[in-house]
Amino acid sequence: MAHISPVTGRYVTFEVMGDELKVFFLENGSGQPLVCQHTAGCHNHQWRDLLEDEEITQNYRVIAYDLVRHGKSDPPKNKEWWKEEYRLTADYYVAFITAFCDALELEDPIFTGSSFGGQVALQLALRHPDRFAAVIPVEAADYSPGFFLDWWQHPHANAAQVCASGVWDLMAPQSPDQDRWATWFYYTQGSEAFRGDLYFYSVDHDLRGRLGEIDAEKCPVVIMNAEYDYLTTPEEGRQTAEQINGAEFIEMKGIGHFPMSENYPDFKQHLQQALQKIESKLGARTG
């Protein structure tokens, strides 16, 4: 029996640091905006189950976009981007997200993202605490070196498979095969962006010694790291949270680095816990 999903996809055009962008996003639900960033070299389908989860979408307007150069968001329209090496910087990434939220006229959005999306969530809390109601950095830490590698694009290897199988064991063996393989499949599609994204992830994102400048009393921060993540372990997530005034930490057992995509039912429980923490914090402030 056919079923039409309530999730809709649209494009929005806006400018970021001189780049003219046409950005694709999926959305469903109503209420406070929950803006979702996919992981490096991937696209918004990682949020497919959250987007269709009525329990969440009855209270939140879930919006999952494709970052420029990912999924259905093309590279800049006004630039000969093929003549440059792509390297995502923290400045550009933060400017993109705030411009996207402005373009959609989102009020008090909660921002979440995993991996390089988790790292930029920390950057948003540092740079724009007034623009976001809260952030939920997933698989995040102050610093995550070691993944800005040429292997992701090496011309003598199958880049699609190197990227997809290279991130395979960022996922937990317990996560369902169907979801792990869907995530693997997404990763075969983004090798050209993956390496450049990881410039931000492993090089330009470096908040060592700066976490004290983030104030989670102003912009609530709930960090969530998973047990099978070898890049940013729960211990590193916890240590990051401990250095941020007022931040909270949730450890996710039995999952990995792509929790929303590899095992949504487990991830959902932790996300709800994070959203409750944020609601009670924001409620206490206004109440």
């Binding site: 070691g146 290897a157 199988s165 290279g166 395979w168 064991d169 063996p173 070898y230």
Partner: protein, 133 residues
Amino acid sequence: MAAETAVTSGWIEDFRCASDEDAELQAHGRYYSCAYLLDMEEHSYLVQMHAGKVEEILEDPGPLDDRYQFIIRASAETWRGFGQETPPPMHHGLFAAAFRTDLSLEGDLLVLMQNLRCVVRQIELLRQTGVPV
């Protein structure tokens, strides 16, 4: 020593069968041809693959017995984690273990990357066969 040899020779056969009968390796391993050394501290195994099938597995090869392109080297303790049905965190894959345990990837890593999907899958078969150390 004899008992240990019997155990390990049983593992070689198990690993060969698990590989040659694995649906994923057989569906995607048409070009999986290379040789690598599994160094498990107490024993080492030279695994020679041809077109997705195990050609030969040499146990504790001598220094000049045959050639290989890369080495996956770790302590016996680390490999025991790989051999569990549900491996503990950081023993659940080559990259995870390379980042977080004593496992090292040595030699011509380009050959590893060229065959990454199949090597990753084949190493996961240790969850079925266990490890001989």
